[in-house]
Amino acid sequence: MAKKKMTPSQKRQAIWGWAFILPTMLGLIVLNYYPAINTVYQSLCKTGDFGKGNIFVGLNNYKAVLGSAEVWQSLWNTVKYAIVEVPLGIVIALILAVLMQKKLAGKTLFRTLFFLPMVCAPAAVAMVWKWLYNQQFGLLNNVLHTNVAWISDPKIAWISVGIIGVWSIIGYNMVLFIGGLQEIPKDYYEAAQIDGASAVRQFFSITVPLLSPTTFFIVQTRIIGALTVFDLMFMVMDKTNLALNKTQSIVYLFYTYAFTNGNRGYGAAIVMVLVVFIMIVTFFLQKLEKKIVYYN
């Protein structure tokens, strides 16, 4: 009925508009929305032998997944990884970004260096770190004169992997912080200086609140990024690693079941657990945003 009222100009816009969005919308439906629903369906099925056919088994996969100590352990491992990567990666990046606000020689060089890991394949980064961490021949144990099993001692392997994550992400967080800092008007600092506020006071009274939208954005994207970590884990933690169970992330476990073992129903159920977990985290983050983020 609305169509009859359309002027020729509106009609043209409607035709062009739909023609322009059609490829994207079709793509999203075929490549994302259908797969999302299909994963839910698969999580209710048992994968037939030789990958043939799905047998509907109801909630059996969920019973198995939720009753599996391995799944809960890997979820906890993922959280532990996030506890290392997210705060450290953000605090260090913020310090560097604030320092880079000053007039310095070689600023571009520093920025280039800090951002460098962002353009490297995580597979390569993980290989180098694995070599640095090597218990017998690694640089770290050599320099420190220690004999620590950095990545195969279940007690510390999660920290070691987390540190690779921090090293990889500092530059990215820093660039986002620099962007946020540049948007804070300079006169606030000048006014504060006239009032005799110290640099520390200025940081906490001006920088922190006015930077909070940027900080929140980074916190949110990094938490979700950390909860879905895969590349570093996969490259660093071999199947034979003694610390595998106490370190592997949930996405790694999903990959193992769905693609190495070909048990897609079980893998799909693991993904659903991850999705629900991320949704809960996102929900609380949104609540938090209203309370602590300062939008002027």
């Binding site: 043209r12 816009q13 409607a14 062009w16 508009g17 739909w18 322009f20 969005i21 490829p23 994207t24 999203l28 490549l31 994302n32 929305y33 259908y34 797969p35 999302a36 299909n38 698969q42 560097l96 320092l99 000053k102 310095l104 520093f110 280039t112 260096l113 800090f114 951002f115 460098l116 962002m118 353009v119 394949a121 995580p122 390569a124 980064v125 290989m127 180098v128 070599w131 017998q136 640089l139 050599n142 090293w167 500092i170 990215y172 660039v175 962007g179 994207t221 979700i224 990024g225 879905t228 895969f230 996969f234 490259m235 999903f254 769905a258 799909a268 659903m272 999705v275 991320i278 996102t282």
Partner: protein
């Protein structure tokens, strides 16, 4: 006066020290990667902290050996094709959709755009199994088309370009209409060139994402001749994990091209990532 200037100097000194310490931490893995790559395996595993530099000559031939035995030419070719097609698909579909969402009015626009936004909030892992099954059914396993498949369209890019088009002044279209342009011509000749910076951001983002991606290439390209650099490295590590100089030489070969591109187009990279703020 004097104390202020000394305090200023101390301040600056501390700033430099912190930056330099972190710069060294960032550099050490790269330096060690290169130094290991030019050693013999025997040197690499000699447990002496003073063997930092190779002392039996610099074995650049490690690169040549790795280049040949791991078929790096194929890996480069696969990765470049993968990146190029992903970038073309993303830019093409996203700029069209972004223009429609940002500048045109049509029925159903709000609902369709909410589908774009919702996609961005769903963890991508939920798409992987069915995407793999589709690629498998289409007989695209171990092909570039299979690699590109999930990236044919991009919700994030659509959102990014929509914001880009929205920020353009309104009178542009009116002027174009007076000159007799239809909507297609207005888009192609007037609006599209003005969103170049958003397109560059999306292109860089897409290229980096494809280059760094590990799971998808491992799933769809199990054959060593069809896979990408990232997934190729994973394969090599599984097979020859204890030949450290070879591993490091392979890692260097895999990351050097992107580092060179990054250093040349540094400004675009950093700005592109900062303005798009995408989840990499």
């Amino acid at each position: 006066m004097d104390s202020i200037s000394t305090r200023y100097k101390i301040n600056k000194f501390i700033t430099y020290m912190v930056l330099i310490i972190f710069a060294v931490i960032m550099l050490v893995p790269f330096v060690w990667m290169i130094l290991t790559a030019i050693k013999t395996n025997q040197e690499a595993i000699s447990v002496d902290p003073f063997y930092i530099f190779p002392h039996n000559g610099w074995h650049f031939e490690n690169f040549a050996t790795v280049w040949k035995s791991y078929n790096f030419i194929t890996l480069y070719k696969n990765t470049i094709l993968f990146i190029i097609f992903r970038v073309i698909c993303a830019c093409l579909t996203a700029t069209m959709a972004g223009y429609a969402f940002g500048r045109l009015e049509f029925p159903g626009k709000k609902i369709m755009f909410s589908l774009v936004l919702i996609q961005m909030m769903i963890p991508a892992q939920i798409f992987v199994i069915p995407q793999y099954l589709m690629v498998s059914k289409l007989h695209l396993l171990n092909t570039t088309a299979g690699l590109v498949f999930p990236g044919l369209v991009t919700a994030f890019g659509t959102y990014l370009l929509k914001t880009g088009y929205q920020s353009l002044p309104k009178d542009l279209e009116e002027a174009a209409a007076i000159d007799g342009c239809n909507i297609g011509q207005t888009f192609l000749f007037i609006m599209l060139p003005l969103t170049r910076s958003s397109m560059v951001s999306l292109g860089i983002f897409t290229a980096l994402f494809a280059f760094k991606d590990l799971m998808w290439p491992m799933i769809v390209c199990t054959n060593a001749n069809t896979t990408t650099l990232s997934a190729g490295l994973a394969k090599m590590q599984g097979q020859y994990g204890s030949d450290y100089p070879a591993m490091m030489a392979a890692a260097v070969l895999a990351i050097v091209p992107m580092i060179v591109i990054y250093i040349v187009f540094q400004k675009q990279f950093v700005e592109g990532i900062a303005t798009s703020g995408g989840k990499l």
